[in-house]
Symmetry: C2
Subunit: 225 residues, 2 copies
């Protein structure tokens, strides 16, 4: 209950037109909505709940955001931010083999560290028919295809240099690799148990793609029977 009433002077500085960066109620609302939407979904979250969670009147939410949908897409965009990573800078210095492995690792680590929002977007994509249409689906697909394209071209280069021993087409290999990664993702998201930690997964990918066998212990973790 503790209605601590932290009024928080709310940093004017509005000055000329810099109406960004007001750490006031708007952000509080966004944060509340983010958690609620993520944990319960859109229809299962009421505006009153958001209001309560943000310690703000419901009407204020409708002052900041015209409708519930508008609040929702605002939350979407904010959640989407960390998905835009600049691969180029980090990869440019490595050779193809290392680039591929780093790319894979980044995928795995990202999923591990952003499990909540990944789960959220997955659920969103699943039952909105917005797939294909302009909207969330297209944005996510764009990111995904970008990643796949990068992976494909890297594999093609590696194949040309003979680093990559397999006889697949680069597209086929990339598709298979991505499938494996998505499989890790599912396993990670659904069974809380991280049956395959990123490092182990990465090792298996390395062996599959480059024929390298991790020297030392080849056991994976869940050796049970």
């Amino acid at each position: 209950m503790a209605d601590e009433q932290a009024k928080e002077v709310q940093a004017r500085s509005v000055g000329t037109e810099a109406r960004e960066q007001a750490p006031g109620s708007r952000d509080e609302i966004l944060r509340a909505a983010m958690t609620l939407f993520a944990n319960r979904g859109f229809h299962e979250t009421s505006m009153s709940e958001v209001a309560r969670e943000a310690r703000v009147s419901k009407a204020l939410i409708f002052w900041h955001f015209k409708t519930k949908e508008e609040l929702f897409i605002a939350v979407l965009n904010r959640l989407l931010e960390p998905y835009f990573i600049d691969f180029a800078e980090e990869l440019s210095a490595l050779d193809e083999r290392e680039q591929i492995l780093r790319l894979v690792e980044m995928y795995l680590l990202f999923v591990r560290d952003n499990a909540n929002s990944v789960r959220f977007f997955l659920a969103q994509l699943l039952h909105d028919e917005h797939r294909g249409e302009s909207g969330l689906g297209s944005q996510v697909m764009q990111l995904y295809e970008g990643y796949r394209g990068l992976l494909t071209s890297l594999i093609a280069q590696a194949q040309q240099r003979g680093l990559c021993v397999h006889g697949y087409s680069s597209e086929g290999a990339a598709a298979f690799l991505l499938s494996a990664l998505n499989g890790f993702l599912i396993e990670f998201l659904f069974m809380g148990r991280p049956a395959l930690d990123p490092q182990h997964a990465l090792a298996m990918v390395r062996e599959w793609l480059f024929g390298e066998t991790k020297q030392g212990n080849p056991d994976g973790g869940q050796a049970v029977a």
Copy 2:
């Protein structure tokens, strides 16, 4: 539109107590609810919609099913039926290598043919926290773990007989294989494009697991570069 009004005499035969098998309104309601729940989810589907879709009064639904939740779990159970397949009979006659491949193929074909319900269960598992608890989650997990266990033991046998060239632990190999399969599933469910048809996927699995290269054309479909 065509409200064909197929009244369908509705087959009494109630006789003594066989109250199963009445292809009447109850089934119509279940069918309507199935599609609606699958396409929109639980909270987004109203009982009035179900009633309209089933061409039945709302009150009748509440006569057949006490609450909305009860209708929902009835739908769940009906959707879950095709998931119970008896692997044993079909696999017993083959050697390990063929058993594994057949198992994989069954997985892929099943996902392809039951995409809708798979999508539905996935969505359900995603944002209900019922994961782990008794309920849908546990049932699905049980099926999944059964499949994984079967796969693991088969791979172990194949490894003992030297059919399986890789140095993974059987658990690790099964986990990797399942991840790849789940990846196919994701790719298939989300991008409508079947970037990897079951046959192609199966071929890649075969090559990975047994080192066999499909004799003849090694292209899978999207051979481009």
